[in-house]
């Protein structure tokens, strides 16, 4: 059995080498380039997002001032329209449901397709 020192001395003499140093170096540099590109994209996205949000804030702020006359006009005219009652809403809903039902019925019985040539 070899002594501790002999094994250590033997191990010191062993030269481990990469299978393909050139390829290893190239691949590592490619990974670094990829990482850098990703970092650049992230930085650009962050800048764009912050600029966009600032612009949006400005636009929203300005739009309040710009839309003031329109808002005034709308609120004035809406106030003059008669308030819509619950009954009107219920009637409109009934009418639209009836219309939808009728159309569905006609589609099922192919009545619409028969109407089509006449429309032509």
């Amino acid at each position: 059995m070899k002594s501790f020192e002999t094994i250590i001395e033997q191990e010191k003499k062993v030269n481990y080498s990469q299978r393909n140093k050139q390829l290893f170096s190239f691949y590592t540099l490619t990974l670094i380039a990829q990482e850098q590109a990703a970092k650049r994209v992230r930085r650009k996205l962050l800048i764009s997002a912050s600029v966009l949000s600032m612009v949006l804030l400005l636009v929203l702020d300005k739009s309040n001032q710009l839309s003031a006359p329109i808002n005034q006009f709308l609120s004035h005219h809406l106030a003059t329209i008669n308030p819509i009652g619950l009954m009107d809403i219920a009637l409109m809903a009934m009418a639209s449901y009836a219309m939808t039902g009728l159309l569905l019925f006609m589609t099922k019985n192919h009545k619409i397709s028969r109407l089509l040539p006449r429309l032509k």
């Binding site: 501790f4 481990y16 990469q18 290893f24 990482e35």
Partner: protein
Amino acid sequence: MESDQELVRRTLSGGNHHYGVLIQRYADYLFGLCMRLTTGNRDLSEDISQQSFLKSYRYLTSFDQKKSYKHWLTGITVNCFKDMLLKEQRYTSLELVEESAHSPDLDGNSEFFDLIKPLTEDEKILFTLKYIYEYQNNEIAELLDRKTGTVKSQISRAMEKLK
């Protein structure tokens, strides 16, 4: 031949190809260190050395150019090895299932690997740095961010195990 410090300085000023020279210069050294730490697992050693170079590049700005790049890189590699161990532990349960299907590609001086087998992973690091790479206790302490006294006692405990 350009010095490591010069190559680091040139890399930092925007020349990635200079880092390629550093990679080529230390590829075998790191690979050897990883082979010893992983007791001859070639694939894992290649992975760890690559991770070390990537990490070294990432933190190159924090490298103190008055110090040795080789020592700094060694510290990074040891940390990468430890990270890999943590990852391996996390996936141990999964690996156990597929253990029979996977056997690592082992290579190198099996006598040395047999010698350090009884040591813990941390002791393997200390032992390898001290006896194969002939680092001083204070240098190891600096690399591993420990006290010199702690390193000294850990190494003597490892030696006790091997006797």
